[in-house]
Symmetry: C2
Subunit: 235 residues, 2 copies
Amino acid sequence: MNTVLILAGGRGTRLGSDMPKQFLMVDGRPLIMYCLETFNLHPLVDNIVIVISKEWEDFMTEWLDREQIAKFRDFAPAGKSRQHSIWYGLQKIQTLGAQNDDIVIVHDAARPCVGVDLITGCVENLNDADAAMPVITVKDTTYMSKDGIRIDSLLNRDELYAGQAPESFRYGKYYRLHENMTDDELSAVRGTTEIAYRNGLAVRMFPGDESNYKITTQDDFEKFRMQIENKGVNN
Amino acid sequence: MNTVLILAGGRGTRLGSDMPKQFLMVDGRPLIMYCLETFNLHPLVDNIVIVISKEWEDFMTEWLDREQIAKFRDFAPAGKSRQHSIWYGLQKIQTLGAQNDDIVIVHDAARPCVGVDLITGCVENLNDADAAMPVITVKDTTYMSKDGIRIDSLLNRDELYAGQAPESFRYGKYYRLHENMTDDELSAVRGTTEIAYRNGLAVRMFPGDESNYKITTQDDFEKFRMQIENKGVNN
């Protein structure tokens, strides 16, 4: 059983609206629906769980009905940190009867352009790993510096990779990592795969997709809006 | 004497045009004119030298006249690598009578949004350094991996910085680095400041500007075009 956990609990309103970005409308539908549609149509996805703040559940339910996201199973409550949200999501997935060897795929609602191949990669790369993560190469010359003024070292760009989402995990192993963590430890986690790596799970990187960008700034949002409107998708 | 070296020798035509990107028209003027205008107006800039392929000199001369880039001094020939181009530029600057303690500021024609403060920073940060470089923080979770499959290490994002342009140098010290390099060594250089750092010059990093992005892809180009057209600049 492969379950997708969509993280949509963010309250970030820095795109200049009162609404968290994942619910902003693009060509007549909330941003979050773009990735939901892709996951819902993917043959390797069985279940979808959405991590969301209580006050957005009604809004979301209406859109899930309207667009017939048939694989949607349930909501999980948003936590005080991203990793807390993931942990609540993993607990919700357990109530759906998840087994240790099942797969959980963690995705960000703010990455609307996730492609079919990345989702397939998330599943297939777990054949010989506990976790899998799409990565893209780093284009900038990257320096390490403790103080931001003096260079401590120059990194070899050919060996640098930036993590993307979605990231996938064997359910049981990933769940147990969280079970053993304190509240503070959960708050300190900075990357979905980071804790898997730090705790000795076998993580496999695979090629991500430049076009699967995360919407963070107003520029990103405008880029996506133009992309959709120019494509004439959903018209 | 502070001289700006504008790198415009690239033949990259991957933006889908026959023309190198730095000469593509945006709102009625070639892309390269946007940074040239900023440098020309900056009170700390005395001279401008442009590294360019022979066949583009006439085109460029016409635009330099039309927009009255009064600080323009001369062209230098484009080299087979970026660092070769810089080296030819440094030699051209010598013919203008540059002294050891003079400053050379190296910029990319494909970064049209360079701001006044960055140029000022390039000069002021050389008060106690041989080289200065604007940097921005790295937002992605960044991993090191030799094979692109297994993670060798996870980098501390708080200590990672990505280099931008323009980068500045004390003329004499930077010139002499190049004098001692073989042709192969020049070809192997990957960053303008990299060779300064590797050869023991005192490099000072200072805060760059997210909006000073480099135009590499068609998306970047469209973003800049929209930015200019929406601003109504030059209308």
